[in-house]
Amino acid sequence: MKIDHSLPLEYSTDENRLKILGFWIFLGAEVMLFATLFASYFILSGGTGDGPSGAEIFEITPVLIETLVLLTSSFTIGLMVHAMRLGRQKAMMGFFIATIVLGAIFLGVEIYEFVHYVHVGAGLQTSAFSAILLTTLGTHGAHVTFGLFWGICILIQVKKYGLTPRTTNKSFIFSLYWHFLDVVWIFIFSFVYLKGMM
């Protein structure tokens, strides 16, 4: 394995560099996946039938908490990459743990939100609007849930093997995934919630 020491560890081998490129291509496909969900949401959001509309069920407080928590977690995962490049393993793991904790808080609030929606009569089968709302939010939430487990697995490897070309590469790719989820949330926050409550 040829290691280029002029680059950060996560880029230090050709394989690592290509894995990062490959992940970007995957994220490009993810952009399109979420685009189809947003397109469906914009088409179906008026179809509330006998169920409630967005303006009737959205609550600003949980949405704001989710947004601030996810923005902060995106910041901490960015600091994680920075600490990793300084070779500060302890700090890097600290930021990594902070990100996962914030992700778990986000998920907790989102679960509360889903329970609330079902409680006020907007379940998956109530109307076209409630179906696409829960599908869009749920797809993002499922990504966060997967990210939590994935992140914990990488964290264990960092603890076990230290900062190697392999573990730093995995951590960096995880940071890309996490930032991407934050970007998707920004669009959900703007065009599902704020537009719905405008």
Binding site: L7, Y11, R17, I20, L21, W24, I25, L27, G28, A29, E30, V31, M32, F34, A35, T36, F38, A39, S40, F42, I43, I60, L64, T67, L68, L71, T72, S74, F75, I77, G78, L79, V81, H82, A83, L86, R88, A91, S175, L176, H179, F180, D182, V183, I186, F187, F189, S190, F191, L194, K195, M197, M198
Partner: protein, 97 residues
């Protein structure tokens, strides 16, 4: 020791993303027309996304820079075509009748 863990660039980026969120929140707290509200949301959301991409995701730092940007542009282009095309045919149709 602590300071080197919090680079200015990232802290500023974080503060800027909070400011953008606050600006977007104006559409909730103030009465405004749909057009103005949507304009604010579109502008803040796309700046936020760009901020994450360039500042936090280090999109432009490796030798694969071009391939990475082409992938993103392609994904975003398909996303915009999908969303605008769907709106055009299924939501805004009445304008063309």
């Amino acid at each position: 020791m602590m300071k080197e863990l919090f680079p200015m660039k990232q802290v500023m980026g974080f503060i800027f993303s909070l400011v953008l969120t606050a600006v977007a929140l104006m559409v909730y707290f103030f009465d405004m027309s749909f057009a103005i509200g949507m304009t604010i949301l579109l502008v803040t959301a796309f700046i936020q996304a760009g901020l994450q991409l360039v500042l936090f995701m280090h999109a432009g730092e490796s030798e694969d820079k071009n391939a990475i940007y082409i992938t993103i542009y392609y994904g975003v282009l398909i996303a915009i075509f999908t969303i605008l095309g769907s709106l055009l045919t299924m939501v805004w149709t009445y304008q063309f009748q």
